[in-house]
């Protein structure tokens, strides 16, 4: 066949008409959408770090920041930016929350995922989902009013805004999310595993304890990690329910102040570019990095579980 005919036939096949270009354009736009998540997460770090940079290269004292409990950003004599009491505050409230949330949410996940059936299961799942939807500021309000009065009455303490209050509120907030993730992790365990164990005569609980939980362990661990991350980063509820006092707590009835709450309470009063302003952004960098590590760890744990199962 003559080469010129061949060429024109190929040319027809290779007709890059309007629809081809539209298709390419769509692909590029979707790609931009996909990559936007990465751009935003990098953007968050860059912009928060940019505002905090002036403080970090200037007044920032690494040792004081992590070892001094004195957070005194407005002082006539000398401002000190010690975040230790705030770190302890965040840790104690998150710890309290996890004491409540971990057993209850794992128990609820096992009940919903393995024991409950049909309508009961659907209803419980929907209820848990609705619980997860209650806004943080409403939880804070509940801590400030209902929980505060309850703690004062029950334990005969002067103030009900303390670690116990914020921890319980945070636990109730984190539990529905942890329950949902943990239940997903249990659901991901193949039914073959359960059937094989049941065929050996195991009771449901034996199946759960010996087969389902070990097989879904990584998913459960990541559910707990994400719950911790959630508690760690919660802002409004902790601000309103923890009492907001900079101090080392002696017990669960002491008020504390969290890292997140400090930013929320003080940012409005600072002048842009001041040391105090920069210090608050530095707290933001710390929060960002810690939650990033927690999320990354949760992701790696899940991935490792997937690979092992395959």
């Amino acid at each position: 066949m003559a080469s010129n005919t061949n060429g024109s036939q190929l040319g027809q096949l290779d007709a890059r008409g309007t629809s081809w270009y539209i298709d390419k354009l769509a692909q590029v736009l979707f790609f931009v959408g996909g990559v936007s998540a990465i751009i935003f997460i990098v953007g968050i770090f860059v912009f928060v770090a940019r505002e905090g940079l002036g403080f970090i290269v200037g007044k920032f004292d690494f040792v004081e920041f992590f070892t001094s409990p004195r957070w005194v950003p407005t002082s006539e004599v000398r401002e000190t930016y010690g975040a230790l009491a705030l770190i302890v505050g965040t840790a104690s409230v998150t710890g309290m929350a996890m004491i409540v949330a971990i057993p209850f949410s794992l128990g609820a996940a096992i009940y919903i995922g393995e024991f409950a059936t049909g309508k009961t299961r659907e209803t419980l799942k929907i209820l848990v989902e609705l619980l997860a939807a209650i806004p943080s500021v409403v939880w804070g309000f509940i801590g400030l009013t209902i929980m505060n009065a309850l703690i004062i009455d029950l334990f005969d303490v002067p103030i009900g805004l303390n670690i116990l209050n914020a921890g319980l509120i945070l636990g109730l907030m984190a539990a529905p999310i942890m329950t949902t993730i943990a239940e997903d992790a249990l659901k991901a365990v193949p039914d073959d595993f359960r059937q094989a164990a049941e065929a050996m005569g195991a009771t449901k609980w034996q199946v759960i304890r010996r087969v389902v939980i070990p097989a879904g362990r990584n998913g459960l661990v990541s559910a707990v990690l994400l719950g911790i991350g959630r508690g760690f980063g919660e802002t409004m509820a902790v601000l309103m329910a923890s009492g907001h006092a900079v101090q080392f707590p002696d017990g669960i009835f002491d008020s504390v102040r969290a890292l997140t709450a400090t930013i929320a309470a003080e940012l409005g009063e600072t002048a842009v570019g001041s040391d105090h302003y920069g210090a608050l952004f530095t707290l933001g960098i710390l929060l960002f990095l810690v939650t990033f590590v927690i999320n990354l760890t949760a992701d790696i744990v899940v991935r490792r579980g997937d690979r092992r199962r395959r």
Partner: protein, 291 residues
């Protein structure tokens, strides 16, 4: 003793199984009951506040009386503006992940970024909003800056819901379309998106609920404690229902007890209604799915 009688061991393990079942069932109930009691208390204490005057009047006497109209309207403005950004972007991201993305490092990074967008504390999103939109891009404290902050924060909600509903469309649908000579984009537009639209809508409703309840991200980016007038442009500040609850319950002296309960009840009703709508929609769709 009959051959098939339960041995002691079996009896014991069955008893343990029953006890465990009851224990975990109780834990589930204990997780839900306190919240139901709290909701009931909100209804009892806040219910009497809700009236047409409460919904459609300005706050008066230093926010200790009157209604919450500017806050309610502000929340609607903020949510609507945020959706304008997050829905197109979130759907695009989900289409990329579901229809185009190869299983490589970049895709893994995108997924990690989405998890982190959802996991970064809301107050850090607020700091980002201040650093980027208020200061760097010069939007000032405005509806625009607050909405953009909210949009980025709630982007994962749209992405995750959309991706799930796109992946639920069977591959055979796409293959049938490709084999007719359609391009990828034609397939997405004519086959994939129409079949997934209801799932996407479920995600959007869910995002409305999330966005309406957020407080920290808008505190310093565009929501004001009190404004005696309504915003006129997208570069004005606005009041918002969630921040209003914070303000009347912590910042303003001599607020009558019932007032913040009324605000809390209204906020929670909006959020739960949107969620119930989204759930009901999902259940309805599952019932009439054709494949």
């Amino acid at each position: 003793m009959s051959l098939f009688a339960a041995t002691d061991r079996t009896v014991r393990s069955r008893r343990v199984q029953r006890q465990v079942r009851v224990l975990f069932g109780l834990m589930t109930v204990l997780l839900i009951i306190p919240v139901l009691i709290i909701l009931a208390l909100l209804v009892v204490r806040g219910g009497p506040m809700i009236s047409t005057e409460f919904l459609f009047e300005f706050p008066t006497q230093g926010m200790t009386a009157g209604g919450i109209f500017p806050a309610l309207l502000g929340t609607i403005f903020l949510v609507a503006t945020a959706l304008l950004f997050s829905v197109p972007l979130g759907v695009a991201a989900a289409v990329y992940l579901s229809e185009y993305a190869p299983d490589n490092m970049l895709t893994r990074l995108i997924n990690l970024a989405i998890i982190n967008l959802a996991g970064v504390p809301s107050i850090v999103h607020a700091l980002f909003g201040v650093g980027a939109f208020v200061l760097f891009f010069g939007f000032g404290t405005s509806i625009l800056a607050a909405s953009l902050t909210l949009a980025i924060m709630t982007l994962p909600v749209v992405i995750v819901a959309t991706r799930e509903s796109l992946q639920a469309v069977p591959l055979a649908f796409r293959e049938a379309c490709w084999s007719m000579g359609a391009t990828r984009w034609q397939t997405i537009r004519r086959i994939v998106l129409p079949n997934a639209i209801s799932g996407i809508l479920t995600g959007v409703i869910l995002e409305v609920s999330r966005t309406a309840g957020e407080t920290a991200p808008i505190m310093f980016t565009g929501a004001a404690f009190f404004l005696p007038f309504l915003p006129e442009t997208i570069l004005d500040q606005t009041m918002a229902l969630s921040l209003h609850l914070f303000v009347v319950s912590t910042q303003v002296p001599h607020v009558p007890d019932a007032l913040p309960y009324g605000v809390a009840l209204l906020l929670i009703l909006i959020v739960l209604f949107m969620n119930a709508l989204s759930i009901g929609f999902r259940v309805y769709l599952r019932g009439r799915k054709r494949w």
